[in-house]
């Protein structure tokens, strides 16, 4: 049985002017780490709110842990852990008080489910009397994850849990998710960071309320239809201009330290491209074939 099923979900805001979700369908298997990848405004949060029973879809149905989100929302709330994108614990309560409160609300205690949160909570323990509002960004997210886990949920919804978190904490956070997965918890996580996509079992690429593709990270990269080159030179902007001016250039985007380039006829255009750049750019440049990243795939799809 699939842990999360979404079936042709539609949702719009402001009387239909803004289409947040358009025909969203996907399934997440038990104990799968499923990523929703997409830029801001893709509809990720709306989708989370619908699945977490906070919002009703206009049409389409969905189920979590075999329960219908409309009819059995009360039962679902006992079984899911939801971590909203915005930090939403009580800032004026301490770390320990927050955790205690959410444990009690679910009718359990910290001791009962300590094994689940032990790894993260040990890092928080030195600050347990500190107010939640005074924690650093990474610590806040760890506490929020603890609070979402304290009732031993079978499904975990994490809405951009690593946004605004330092790289070390991000790494720790994802290691934690791997551990939780091994404990049998199904995790639906959203992120705007493409590099985190490769850490998921499967990902859905979302943009403007639509799902562009669903596959394993490797699968998505393999599907990438074209050859891709990375080009580099001392004057990157001039190089970009020249590369884009070449008549058979398919796409050329800046990717951090280099530009990623695709050509209309792939290898056939390669020599012509090199010649064209040499003629127009006049200075030395490097070009090298690379394998596509998730981000390249995302750019190609959108």
């Amino acid at each position: 049985m699939n842990a999360i099923i979404a079936n042709h979900l539609f949702k719009s805001f402001e009387k239909g002017k803004i289409k947040a979700l358009e025909d969203i369908s996907f399934e997440v298997k038990q104990a799968e780490l499923f990523g929703l990848i997409g830029p801001d405004g893709a509809g990720k949060t709306t989708l989370f709110r619908i699945l977490a029973t906070l919002l009703l879809a206009e049409s389409g149905d969905s189920s979590v842990d075999g329960l219908d989100v409309k009819k059995d929302y009360k039962a679902i709330r006992k079984r899911v852990g939801y971590m909203p994108g915005k930090f939403s614990l009580y800032q004026d309560l301490s770390v320990e008080e927050n955790l205690n409160f959410f444990a009690h609300v679910f009718g359990t205690t910290i001791e009962q489910n300590y094994h689940l949160i032990k790894d993260i909570y040990q890092q928080l323990e030195p600050f347990k009397t500190r107010k939640a509002g005074k924690l650093s960004g990474g610590m806040k997210q760890k506490l929020a994850l603890c609070c979402a886990l304290i009732h031993e949920p079978s499904v975990l919804f994490l809405d951009e849990p690593t946004t605004g978190v330092d790289p070390v904490s991000r790494k720790e956070f994802w290691e934690m998710l791997k551990y939780l997965k091994s404990e049998g918890i199904t995790i639906l996580v959203s992120t705007p960071y493409m590099d985190e996509a490769s850490l998921c079992d499967r990902v859905a690429l979302m943009q403007k309320g639509k799902i562009l593709d669903i596959d394993t990270p490797v699968g998505i990269i393999e599907k990438y239809p074209k050859k891709i080159w990375s080009i580099h030179a001392s004057n990157m902007y001039a190089l970009l201009q020249v590369a884009r001016a070449f008549p058979n250039t398919h796409t050329c985007f800046g990717f951090g330290e280099s530009h990623h380039l695709t050509l209309n006829h792939d290898a056939e255009d390669y020599d012509a491209f090199c010649q064209y750049v040499q003629e127009h750019y006049k200075e030395p440049f490097q070009i090298q074939e690379i394998t596509a990243t998730i981000e390249d795939c995302f750019m190609a799809l959108s």
């Binding site: 977490a52 029973t53 906070l54 009360k74 709330r77 006992k78 899911v80 939801y82 909203p84 915005k86 930090f87 939403s88 614990l89 009580y90 800032q91 004026d92 309560l93 008080e97 409160f101 959410f102 009690h104 609300v105 679910f106 009718g107 609070c147």
Partner: protein, 372 residues
């Protein structure tokens, strides 16, 4: 039940951790109760008076002396031209002009009557009004003195004189504080009951914590009760503090029973808590809730009979005060504290407040459900 206890524990913890709320609840009432009744006093003192004396007789001097001697007036100008006096009014130096015409004494003796001119600056309505009234009564008194001077030995009074001596029941000395303190206490209880509740709930919305609460199995009525009960308790505490302050500082001992006061406060709090809940349903940010609250408190205070008597309002305003729960509470407080009314005498008020409680809470629950 257990969930509710945890919610209450959390709520009280947060309230007592927030030093500004503690200040609002405990320090503000004390300061307001001590300062406001002393400052916002209707008794007008220091009315500035300009005297235009065209007569310069012993009577005119006597009259002026009597006016100044009353203690309510301060002589700022003694001139012989009305124009000059009017100028001092224009410059805001004096509030009242009294003009004593030439031959005042002579006409008074000869014709047994004389005329005086009083001109009152009505920009500050209360001051003008009260000043004028004081002045009239002083002149009346002076008139009486003059008569007794002249008509010294009437064997039999040819004209029976009707002398009216007013007696003020319940507040015999017209103690203004006795009148104001219970009223101000009502405003404070209203603020705690409705506005702090509204702000507290809206804060959860604004900060986003309500998102986290909504995905837990907490039932809605538990959440609402968890919000209302702490402020119900705090409202009663504020009442107790207020009554203590008015007893210690102003020596006001309620004539009626404390039980009636607290009983009524408890019901009244139910009504205003409902109002707070209703307000929170219509605002998403604390800023919006503040504006709502500000608007409401203005209406409540100005239309509640705290400063202006309801009997003196136009007919439409009187009808409006029927829909103002604060007006009932102010009335009850005064009735019980000053007059000593019991439950039977205030039964209509109790019914009114009970219906407010039902209507406000009903509306609040209805609109709350519609939201989610």
């Amino acid at each position: 039940m257990k969930t509710l206890l945890f919610l209450l524990e959390k709520e009280f913890r947060q309230i007592f951790r927030n030093s500004s709320i503690i200040r609002i609840i405990f320090v503000m009432p004390i300061i307001q109760l001590i300062v406001l009744p002393i400052a916002a006093d209707y008794e007008v003192k220091n009315v500035n008076i300009a005297v235009v004396d065209h007569d310069h007789s012993s009577y005119s001097r006597q009259l002026v002396q009597k006016i100044i001697g009353s203690g309510y007036f301060r002589l700022v100008e003694n001139t012989d031209s009305y124009k000059k006096a009017l100028k001092s009014v224009e410059q805001n130096d004096s509030d009242v002009i009294i003009e004593i015409p030439a031959h005042f004494e002579r006409t008074l003796i000869k014709e047994n009557e004389a005329k005086l001119l009083l001109a009152i600056n009505a920009v500050n309505g209360t001051k003008g009004n009260m000043g004028g009234a004081y002045l009239s009564s002083i002149i009346k008194d002076f008139n009486q003195d003059v008569r007794t001077d002249w008509v010294t030995f009437p064997r039999m009074n040819p004209m029976p004189l009707l002398d009216i001596v007013p007696r003020f029941w319940y507040n015999t000395r017209m103690n203004y504080q006795l009148f104001m303190v219970p009223g101000i206490l009502v405003i404070l209880v209203t603020m705690v009951g409705s506005f702090l509740t509204a702000l507290n709930i809206v804060k959860e919305k604004e900060v986003g914590t309500i998102e986290q609460i909504n995905v837990t199995p907490i039932k809605k009525h538990h959440f609402i009760l968890g919000k209302l009960i702490p402020f119900w308790v705090l409202g009663l505490i504020v009442t107790a503090i207020g009554l203590t302050v008015s007893r210690v500082v102003f020596g006001i001992v309620p004539v009626g029973s404390l039980l009636v006061i607290f009983g009524f406060t408890a019901i009244f709090l139910l009504a205003v808590l409902g109002l707070g809940l209703l307000m929170s349903n219509f605002s998403d940010t604390q800023q919006q809730a503040m504006f709502f609250a500000f608007f409401m408190i203005m209406v409540f205070v100005l239309m509640g009979g705290l400063y202006t008597s309801i009997d003196g309002m136009p007919e439409w305003a009187k009808i409006m005060t029927k829909f103002n729960p604060v007006a009932y509470f102010i009335d009850v407080m005064r009735l019980v504290v000053i007059k000593g009314s019991g439950i039977y005498e205030i039964r209509n008020h109790i019914f009114a407040i009970l219906s407010f409680a039902i209507v406000f809470n009903g509306l609040a629950i209805w609109t709350y459900k519609k939201q989610v």
